[in-house]
Symmetry: C2
Subunit: 641 residues, 2 copies
């Protein structure tokens, strides 16, 4: 078998095994060295190839897909800086725990550090930011090598989607010629191994060297744990769930049932089973549920009665944050967006703060955690509920124990009352803020976007939000709703890069509409990402909050240094994005008021395709409107405390 | 002194030392964590800040500046994926040996791996692709720490621009508050240390702890080796030149003077002293000088008589490549672009092939080098000339020794005759090729761009070319000229990324006009880079060769697989770039013939600003035109051999 033929068989085995372990999508950027993988992947009937031309955008597109699907998405590029352009999304995936299988093509060993063109050191290219790196063997077709390459594929998928999901990186050296060819001795059926489901070599169905047949399909391995298309993988990996021993749960439940002043904090996470479990637990314990929208707990058809969504406004008020002193904090998910919430956790570091996280790298930059339960969060909630008993009446309805110490149902209802007060104040203020910052010239108030959207989003909609201000305003102003909504943001490294592509990837991964709320700097950063909407005819409604620069800096101490502020932080660019959106085949509408905004969102959702709705904002007016709202909430709250 | 004040003094010392060691430019991307460095850099009177909003483009902009200036350019960004976006240009700088001083801001140690927002592992972020990485100390103002931070600055600059230039990376942890403040006890003069030239602390002029004055300025250190603005640095580094011992040069010169069939190959390099030295050496030895345009040897006011620029066409002809068998090859610079030239080196691996390179990581992917002279290339040429004697008559004018063996002047004139033949054939063919691919609908022949440009470029002009086809056509078709021109391309990793920004950085670094020739995929990849033209009112003429996809792939074996070709390799995007160029304030002109092309280039050079001149091309016609030319050269050559 010549080199092209060996490549063909070896890569068939690898790709088929990826597929049988559940990889359904590959995001691909053109190049020469990657030809063998690209040509074999393109022919696979159960893997869809998504072409991109900018590797940075491509990788974020894959990230967005993988986040929505909660399954590994493959990425492929050629050698050189192409692979380096994947790095921002790989780093984001590492910290956000998103499964990616990164495949890079490389020169063979003899052409490295030799001055060969387009050749860089790709070994451990992403450093510590991957779960696994493998420098692959050159293609060969001995049974050992075919078993090896299938095993690597299975291991890569398993590591990417395990209890600590994230990116894996496989670097493939290829010698010329780069076009794979079917071996002539293969039958027609063997040449098209995927339609027949049988791999020519290295498959379980094949005779092993010692004559023992391993059996294909393997009995009993066709279960729901495997998402492959009907054929068993060569290695089927079953990943366990992290559970604690009964004693730990019993002791914790016992103590919680006697503890009145508890708070549950939910940060970003995407497990669909979690919201119901934690919602029930909060009701059971009568603890307020401080739910970041990105936790998927603030909105949905699960129990919402304990959700307190205005915590960002409430906890800015020192007197409230002090009175709301908890005995116990149960924390789930990644770090919540709200800084006042973080300060609250820091202020009460003497409370028994319990962090539940599937991985020992829990998030706690204020070092307030006292216990870490390394276990599946939904499982912990479910088991605690069981342990606490399925009694119809919630626990912890004890008597109010005097000033500064609220207990049981009164504790929760005290939070709920404050929550209502804050919500009413904010809602009342929204129209006034609108008067301050209320038309296309003076700009609209950015915070009002989210209450407006709350009414407009259809059931099942996915809201992707950019970092910097959108994710903060989402947290501050999106109400708790009995509506299935899905919220995503890139909170692994909180970058403003790649957000357009992430949202487009999420759109490509499902049927329900995706709306992206993004600031102008972040939108500019990933303008290239819009090409995917054109190439793949994707639907996306982009709400572009345009304040011509870095809006978040107005909120920071740097803003008090006017001699540098605009040049270093405000950084106005003066861009009008309409032409570039049209270049990518999108519609563009700049709105002047909230009525136009609603119409534009509705129109975009009806028509599909790419729409960009520009919401003009002024940074100074927006800052003032935010401050005015927080002041009024503080006044209302202090009057009632 | 509080933390803000310590930061102020510590960073003053660092930045002043960077400046005194020759850093004049910093390319800056906004962020919060980088505030301390940004605010102090912005106030420095001898460092110019270039704002960018996309870190990937920013880093390539710095690369382009540093390449043209041949001096270290600093880069600054905030923490997180911002720093990762620098990586493609850092990798390019590593392989292309371009001096960059990369400054990244980071959270302090206690906030790492703690879930703090926008925090990633930045320690050794760029892996092996930097000359040096330092995790900096937190700002303090003890005399030791100020001496430390000044020493690090000096070392960073020295490593970046040493005999093996490249990027260095300093990672600065900063604690809040992030706005640096002048210490109140400082006098007005001390608060503005740069105007007075005296640093408050850590300066040589200051009393050391033991009372000994170190003296400022230090006598005798104000020499031309230091490019600082009048004040001596705390540490002045003098970098030596790599020279060989006299015996080595004598022996080599002796052997060369008796060796008739020699060839000098010049690959990419930017030392302005090299062209004259190698030009003289080639004339002295009567060896053909195969000069890649990127070697800066093909065009200029230096001795050009030995330049053979049509080698790419000649060496495609097997009979010629065989007859042109050399006894010795002298190679300078990085890997030349021409694949036929590389194959020629490989074919004659039994010749005494000598590579001259300042660093042991010489470029030789065909493993033909027999000797490596690790020394300064210009110095080697100069010393060889001295050793060979300044005789008016060139050496090696021996008699022609029969078929297949040419000696001395006849050897060179044989090459020169073939070169003239190839040049005449190409010139004649250009108009025919134009007939094949000659208007806006059928497309223009891409190769003709460079002969056309050769006549249009003003003296001193810088031509930046994109990778993939432009750099190959430049090599194939740009004639040797008695005109000072400067040629740049990103040949470290040969990426198509960041090329627009690199050219804009080169434009920002000098007065003479810059022209960029780039394909449509590469242009798309770095569209964001165009913002710099708008923000900084830069001049750049972009010649956009638009064949709607990946033109180079038509030349590769992949093109024989039509079932995948367009989807995986041709990858048409259908973009019309005019709107986005206009968004960035540029002019756009699509030309239909070469007359319009010449007018458009002249107009752009006259008017300044950003102009994009689109040259439409068809991939199939372009491929045929190239093949036709190579066929005709082969026919002409075979007839004459």
């Amino acid at each position: 078998m010549n080199r092209s033929q060996a490549m063909y068989v070896y890569l068939n085995a690898f790709i088929e095994e990826l597929s049988r372990n559940g990889v359904r999508h590959v995001v691909y950027c053109p190049g020469s060295r990657s030809t063998p993988l690209a040509m074999r992947l393109a022919e696979h009937p159960r893997i869809r190839c998504w072409l991109h031309l900018d590797e940075r955008s491509a990788a974020f597109f894959a990230l967005g897909m993988a986040k929505r699907l909660r399954e590994p998405v493959a990425l492929l590029c050629t050698s050189g800086t192409a692979a380096v352009n994947f790095a921002p999304a790989v780093v984001e995936a590492h910290y956000a725990r998103v499964p990616l299988v990164v495949l890079t093509a490389d020169r063979p060993p003899e052409l490295r550090d030799a001055g060969a063109p387009q050749t860089i050191d790709q070994v451990h290219l992403y450093g510590r930011h991957v779960r696994w790196f493998m420098e692959m063997a050159l293609p060969e077709t001995s049974p050992e090598l075919l078993r090896y390459v299938r095993t690597v594929a299975a291991k890569a998928v398993a590591l990417a989607q395990g209890s600590f999901p994230g990116p894996v990186h496989l670097n493939f050296p290829f010698r010329e010629p780069l076009v794979p060819e079917p071996p002539p001795e293969m039958t027609a059926g063997e040449r098209d191994p995927w339609s027949g489901g049988r791999m020519p070599l290295g498959d379980r169905g094949e005779e092993c060297r010692d004559g023992r047949r391993l059996g294909n399909p393997v009995d009993g391995w066709h279960d729901g744990n495997l998402r492959s298309g009907g054929e068993a993988p060569y290695v089927a990996v079953r990943s366990g769930r992290l559970v604690l021993d009964d004693g730990t749960i019993e002791r914790l439940a016992g103590w919680l049932s006697g503890t009145k002043r508890g708070v549950i904090v939910c940060g970003p996470q995407t497990d669909p089973a979690f919201a119901r479990a934690v919602g029930k637990l909060a009701e059971r314990l009568q603890y307020p549920l401080l739910a970041d929208p990105l936790s998927q707990v603030r909105c949905g058809r699960h129990p919402l009665s304990a959700v307190v969504e205005m915590y960002d406004a409430l906890l800015r008020v020192t007197a409230f944050a002090e009175k709301a002193k908890p005995e116990v904090v149960l924390r789930f998910g990644a770090l919540p967006v709200s800084k006042p919430l973080l300060q609250y956790l820091s202020r009460h570091a003497d409370a028994r703060q319990i962090v539940v996280d599937g991985h020992a790298m829990w998030h706690d930059p204020v070092f307030s955690a006292a216990e870490v339960l390394q276990a599946d969060p939904a499982w912990v909630c479910e088991r605690l509920c069981v342990q606490l008993g399925e009694a119809a009446q919630p626990q912890n309805r004890g008597a109010f124990a005097g000033e500064g110490r609220k207990t049981g149902g009164e504790w929760l209802s005290w939070w709920q009352k404050a929550n209502r007060l804050a919500r009413q104040t904010v809602e009342r203020r929204m129209s006034d803020a609108d008067a301050v910052a209320g038309d296309a010239d003076t700009g609209l108030f950015e915070g009002r976007l989210f209450p407006e959207l709350a009414g407009l989003l259809p059931e099942g909609c996915l809201l992707y939000v950019g970092n910097s201000m959108p994710v903060r305003d989402l947290d501050s102003f999106f109400p708790a709703l009995q509506k299935e909504l899905f919220f995503l943001a890139n909170r692994g490294a909180n970058g403003i890069d790649g957000v357009v592509s992430s949202a487009l990837g999420a759109s490509a991964a499902g049927e329900e509409p995706v709306i992206l709320v993004i600031g102008d700097l972040s939108f500019y950063h990933d303008l290239n990402g819009l090409l995917a909407a054109k190439l793949h005819r994707l639907n996306l409604t982009v709400i572009l909050v345009n304040n011509d620069g870095g809006g978040i800096f107005s909120f920071l101490p740097q803003a008090e240094h006017p001699e540098h502020f605009e040049a270093l932080f405000g950084t106005p660019h003066g861009l009008s994005f309409e032409p570039v959106v049209k270049m990518y085949g999108g519609r563009y509408r700049r709105v002047g008021d909230w009525e136009q905004f609603s119409q534009a969102v509705r129109t975009s959702l009806e028509k599909g395709g790419l729409s960009v709705i520009e919401v003009p904002s002024r940074r100074d007016a927006n800052l003032n409107a935010h401050r005015q709202i927080w002041r009024e909430v503080a006044q209302a709250l202090e009057a009632s405390l």
